[in-house]
């Protein structure tokens, strides 16, 4: 018997049994079970015995044995709800500072999450107004032998007819073709028009509606066009647009046959006008548009959308598509193409694709945002829990009394969750306020105008916000409430310190992690900011103050130049094809002899005033001979002289090079190196070519004494010169700054996240400081009685936090040093990683930490030892 009883039944089964079984019954039943198990072991194999034992235990689950928890009976204590809310409100009111910190911390995190929520909402709201949206598909393609293998949204034009003729199960097939764009001269103003050629079925497949015009015939005649309402108003104002002629430069005369109703929502198909598909054939015949209708290798000209007649036979259609691609493309050729079918609702957000018909947000971006939101809220919830449990010491008595009066664990949990939900709802109000501030800032980012972000939260979004904050409250309140409700009333009323909170080490390492993240973010955003500032203000080696760049818009530079130079404040005007340091570049083949392999050099097409105007320095040779009719001379920079193999710049003078195929030019001068390209790159070989034909810009050097007056006069000269186009100008330095300001997007975003992380880390610090100081209050009291001075106490309490901050700064400094070095080294001209930045970050954290810990320490020191020790 004794030897048998040493054989223990499976522990897990016992634990499970004890978990569900009522305490009064568990002992006797478990005894029986064990006795029975001993019997099994004498009869059966251990495995079978264990199995039988488990079965016994499972069979014992019934209404007699299950634990009776009182929460089951009063899951929602309706009667007490009012009391809980009242107590929660009182508590919130009483601890104003504490509530403020909690609400601010939560609301900042929440605002960011709301922003993300609104963004996701906005980005998933495309194409919702099409009644057939779930039935519409399009064909995409993938080139198997291309270098970059991403799916492409366009398909060759002949595919549309093949599908129409060979595949009967499709109801509507709508093709869009690129190329319907050009300037329209209206009342002396040139306005750009962008649209597509498409077939009449577009009104049946999609829910684009015509305000005027007949959808059945509007797009059937060649050279007919329908306009978006705002565009029609722009061109024709009060006039009735129907039947009017529209002269699209380069394409010919079009007749307006319809005006589109304003769209009820966003669509991924972006256009200002649609023209009839029947126009395409004649335009291609006249060679105005390049041949595409029967060319299977023109892969990027058009899109094809369709829906099925009755049931959707996707696999069947895919087979047909495979057959078509097999017939139309040679295997192993450069053009081996496979077609895919894509559902319209999967387009945006959808997979990353080339040649989209409009803007589209890749879906991984959405996933990234969701992950970010979850991370932020996890941190915020963690900190809320940390702070609440830290302050819980003052509320143990309340819980104790509640429990003595008959409150159950479930009810206490309920109470604290309600409190968290209230705090979370307060935070929501503040967060919505913050969001109102954030949205304009966010929408002004270059990035967001690219993606057409319109973050106007509607009722649906607000309901989402509300649900979100409720869930946040539930989640954040869950852990503190579990902790608070585990108080044993007898301990609470005796005044001892409540249940032990395990894992102070874990909490410390979490805080260190938060601090490290903040430090890395502070340092990185400072560095990015400095680098951009550096690039914008650096001396590029050319003059850019007081130069107005005027876009020629097709006008003759030679005629404009003397007109501009007549103005008294204009010193001189030079022409150029391109503005340096704005991200664009042109290049051309160059070689010294015909037999040599050509290299590509960047070039600017300029005139003889260019060097003087931009104050470039000629280190050798001379400027261009003015008024050349043929391109005979070229000026190079020092880098090019070296690259072409001349030992000194002077040696290069008189040298002969061949540009492009056969333009022989003489090197007449060498300019000092200057940064003509974005500072990301080293100075490369550069050619200044004398080539007025390519001019796009007139660069006028002005006195700059009275900019407003000067611009006015420049504009009136332009107006007299070209009444059709608006005066399009930019100050040279503004134009360069504008280009670099794109990078400020990063600064804004990183800056925002670093503020967020500092707030979160600060809250974490505060929580842990409060907790550890509260638990050491008695120690502080005794030390004070024994004569400890203030500074000793500060040392005592602050030391461990100081160590945490130093460790975080060290780790954060290392990470940001190597992390930022990686991207900084991509820049040819860069700032150095200064220790001052590390110092700033350290100081910042010290200040935040000092404030949070300092206030707590000070409070601990101020308390009267008699109050703390009275109970002992």
């Amino acid at each position: 018997m004794k030897s048998q009883s040493t054989i223990q039944p499976p522990k897990l089964a016992d634990r499970f049994f004890n978990w569900y079984c009522r305490n009064e019954l568990s002992e006797s039943i478990q005894g029986d079970l064990h006795e029975r198990y001993d019997f099994y072991r004498t009869e059966y194999s251990p495995i079978r015995s264990n199995y039988l034992y488990w079965m016994d235990i499972l069979r014992f689950i019934n209404r007699h044995t299950l634990k009776r928890t009182s929460t089951r009976r009063t899951f929602i204590p309706t009667i007490m709800l009012k009391n809980y809310t009242l107590v929660a409100l009182r508590n919130i009111k009483r601890n104003k500072a504490f509530t403020m910190i909690n609400v601010i911390g939560l609301s900042i995190s929440m605002a960011v999450c709301l922003l993300i929520l609104a963004t996701i909402d906005d980005q998933t709201s495309y194409d919702e107004f099409h009644s057939k949206r779930d039935d519409i598909y399009r064909v995409t393609h993938e080139r198997l032998n291309a270098e970059v293998n991403i799916p492409i949204a366009t398909t060759p034009m002949p595919l549309g007819d093949r599908l129409r003729n060979e595949y009967a199960s499709l109801e509507h097939i709508v093709q869009f073709r690129r190329g319907f764009q050009g300037e329209i001269i209206d009342n002396g103003k040139a306005i750009n028009l962008n649209g597509y050629f498409t077939n009449p079925e577009v009104f049946e497949l999609f829910d684009f509606e015509l305000e005027v015009g007949n959808p059945a015939t509007a797009l059937s005649e060649p050279n007919s066009v329908i306009l978006r309402k705002d565009i029609a108003e722009k061109f024709f104002r009060d006039k009735d647009p129907m039947g009017q002629d529209l002269n699209v430069e380069g394409l010919g005369q079009f007749k307006v046959t319809g005006v589109l109703k304003e769209l009820p929502g966003k669509t991924h198909i972006n256009f200002e006008a649609l023209s009839s598909f029947s126009t395409v054939a004649s335009l291609e015949k006249q060679e105005i548009l390049s041949e595409s209708l029967s060319d299977w290798e023109k892969l990027s000209t058009g899109w094809v959308y369709f829906n099925f007649k009755e049931e959707e036979k996707l696999a069947d259609l895919q087979n047909t598509l495979n057959r078509i691609s097999d017939e139309s493309y040679d295997e192993d050729s450069e053009y081996e193409v496979v077609f895919h079918i894509q559902k319209m609702t999967d387009i945006t957000p959808g997979p990353l694709m080339g040649n989209q018909i409009g803007q589209s947000m890749p879906n991984f971006f959405i996933y990234g945002l969701v992950v970010l939101a979850i991370l932020i809220m996890t941190c915020a919830a963690f900190n809320y829990a940390n702070l609440t449990t830290a302050r819980a010491l003052t509320r143990f008595k309340e819980v104790g009394v509640r429990k003595v009066m008959g409150s159950t664990k479930g009810q206490v949990i309920m109470q604290f969750i309600i409190e968290a939900v209230l705090v979370s709802l307060f935070s929501l109000l503040l967060a919505i306020g913050l969001l109102k501030l954030l949205i304009p800032a966010f929408e002004s980012l270059n990035m967001s105008s690219l993606l057409e972000w319109k973050l106007n939260p509607d009722t649906k979004v607000y309901i989402q916000f509300f649900i979100f904050s409720l869930v946040t409250g539930l989640v954040t309140g869950f852990f503190p409430s579990l902790y608070m409700s585990s108080v044993k009333p007898i301990n609470a009323l005796k005044g001892s310190s409540g249940p032990k909170m395990g894992g102070i080490g874990l909490r410390k390492s979490l805080i260190v992690t938060q601090l490290v993240i903040s430090i890395v973010l502070i340092i990185s955003s400072t560095l990015v900011h400095r680098q951009i500032k550096y690039m914008m203000t650096r001396d590029y080696g050319f003059q850019r103050d007081n130069i107005v760049n005027i876009a020629l818009q097709g006008q003759d530079f030679d005629l404009l130049k003397p007109e501009l130079e007549k103005l008294s404040f204009v010193e001189q005007v030079s022409g150029a094809n391109n503005i340096p340091n704005t991200g664009q570049h042109y290049d051309i083949d160059i070689r010294k002899t015909v037999s040599e392999e050509a290299e590509k050099y960047n070039y600017f097409a300029v005139d003889e005033s260019y060097i003087k105007n931009l104050k470039l320095e000629l280190v050798a040779g001379t400027n261009f001979t003015p008024k050349q009719t043929e391109e005979r001379e070229v000026i190079i920079n020092e880098q090019a002289a070296e690259a072409l193999g001349f030992a000194t710049p002077i040696e290069a003078i008189g040298g002969n090079v061949i540009l492009g195929d056969s333009t022989n030019v003489n090197i007449v001068g060498v300019v000092k190196n200057y940064n003509f390209m974005i500072l990301y790159m080293e100075i490369r070989p550069l050619l200044l070519r004398y080539n007025p034909e390519e001019f796009e810009w007139a660069q006028a050097k002005v006195a700059g004494a009275n900019p407003i007056q000067e611009l006015k006069e420049l504009e009136s000269v332009w107006a007299g010169f070209d009444p059709n186009h608006d005066f399009d100008y930019k100050y040279f330095d503004d134009q360069i700054e504008e280009f670099y300001s794109m990078f400020y997007d990063f600064v804004y975003i990183i800056g925002l996240i670093s503020i967020l992380s500092i707030v979160i880390a600060g809250m974490g610090l505060l929580g842990i400081a409060t907790y550890s100081i509260q638990t050491r209050l008695k120690e502080v009291g005794i030390r004070k009685i024994l004569g400890a001075e203030g500074k000793n106490l500060v040392m005592l309490l602050g030391k461990s936090f100081f160590i945490m901050i130093v460790i975080s700064t060290f780790i954060g400094g290392l990470i940001s040093f190597f992390g930022n070095k990686a991207w900084l080294e991509l820049f040819a001209y860069r700032i150095t990683f200064g220790y001052d930045i590390l110092g700033i970050a350290f100081l910042f954290i010290i200040v935040v930490g000092g404030l949070t810990i300092g206030t707590q320490t000070w409070k601990a020191m101020k308390t009267n030892p008699a109050d703390i020790l009275r109970n002992e």
Partner: protein, 109 residues
């Protein structure tokens, strides 16, 4: 007083009475298995015992510890006077019904 005893409850109650002062969950289970050659699960016996206790037909008290059960005490079930009444009533009812069967019914065999 009328008692409504289920068939299984009656058997359990009979065994409890038979094992006078030594009846507990497992012993009742094994007795039923052995004497009636009928397979029962321990939990259903326990359930029956609790139900009988709720009806006041058995009393239970916690017994002393035994080594074989890992030191866990037994819950000993004893028949109450109401239980005895219930058993007698059930028996009487059966005898009464038996007496009503005409002799001819069994004679044919």
């Amino acid at each position: 007083m009328r008692f409504n005893l289920g068939e299984f409850e009656e058997i359990v109650l009979l065994v409890v009475a038979a094992q006078n002062d030594d009846a507990y969950g497992l012993s009742v289970t094994t007795a039923i298995e052995k004497e009636l050659k009928r397979s029962v699960t321990m939990s259903s016996v326990h359930t029956a015992l609790y139900r009988l206790e709720e009806k006041g037909l058995v009393k239970s008290e916690v017994g002393g510890t035994t080594k074989s059960r890992g030191g866990r005490r037994k819950r000993i079930f004893m028949i109450s006077s109401a239980g005895k009444d219930a058993l007698l009533q059930a028996k009487d009812a059966r005898t009464h019904l038996w007496s009503m069967i005409p002799k001819i019914v069994f004679e044919g065999q």
